[in-house]
Amino acid sequence: MAKVRGAVTVNTERCKGCNLCVVACPSKVLDLQQKEVNNRGYHFAYMAQPDKCIGCQSCSLVCPDACIEVYRVIEK
């Protein structure tokens, strides 16, 4: 069966670490950096579990700063 795989890229300098994408993700892929921060001092989001991403765009829709790009591919 074809499997949908996804991946996101986060514009880390634009991200403000509001955590809304982490909450919105149905597959629990995203998380905020625990120690690393960007130039403005925010703990930015990253893919903690990249294998689970299904490219559903939920994170990018709720992101107030439009810093998430979503890629999706159907694995055959």
Binding site: N11, L20, L61, A66, E69, V70, V73
Partner: protein, 257 residues
Amino acid sequence: MENNDIIRPENLVYKKPALLNDSHMHYCPGCSHGVVHKLIAEVIEEMGMAEKTIGVSPVGCAVFAYNYIDIDWLEAAHGRATAMATATKRLMPDKLVFTYQGDGDFAAIGTCESIHSCNRGEDIAIIFINNAIYGMTGGQMAPTTLLGQKTATCPYGRRADLNGYPLSITPLLAELDGTCYVTRQSVHKPASVRKTKAAIRKAFENSMAGKGTSVVEVVSTCNTGWKMTPEKANQWMEENMFAKYPLGDLKDVESKK
């Protein structure tokens, strides 16, 4: 399949709209304004109206909206955005004219202009962000503040006997003959973001078709003003705001003219 194989231009399904420029938004982390800005940029881009759109920005947190969306903007005096939009649309009927206002601008100081523009049925779209607080000035009580809600100027909660009742202005506007589309949406979940985008698109199309005034109220959060995390603010909004400001279309008529 590795991540690097997925992250390729041909697999891209969602990116920042080009009309939203690279300036760093001054909004607090998790602010609903950012989501609505993004949706407006997406809709204008999809309609191909980038060169023909004039937005009117308010006084309030969204006062710098002109820094973020790459279209023509006007800056109105506090509450007078719909009056400026009226003049703009009457002088240039081929432009898409919309106002972007918060509740302190639209439902407090600008109530007179708001109601009369809607009553005249001006062919403008109004995006009304309602977060039940004066966010920009530090979280004071607004007319839209809920009963019992604590703010900087009512630290023990809003009281009906002292402060009056919260103003739900959108149903009032739905009563007027000049409005063609009045709806109340939110942007706290992916599904609600999609619905709000469809509502904004419809409002903009109504404006270009000359059907009358369209009002899109977006029930929003102000996590800094409410003193909560963005996630908690969304929950609080679901539990408290939606009882007073229920979501859904209040009016959708074919044409008022």
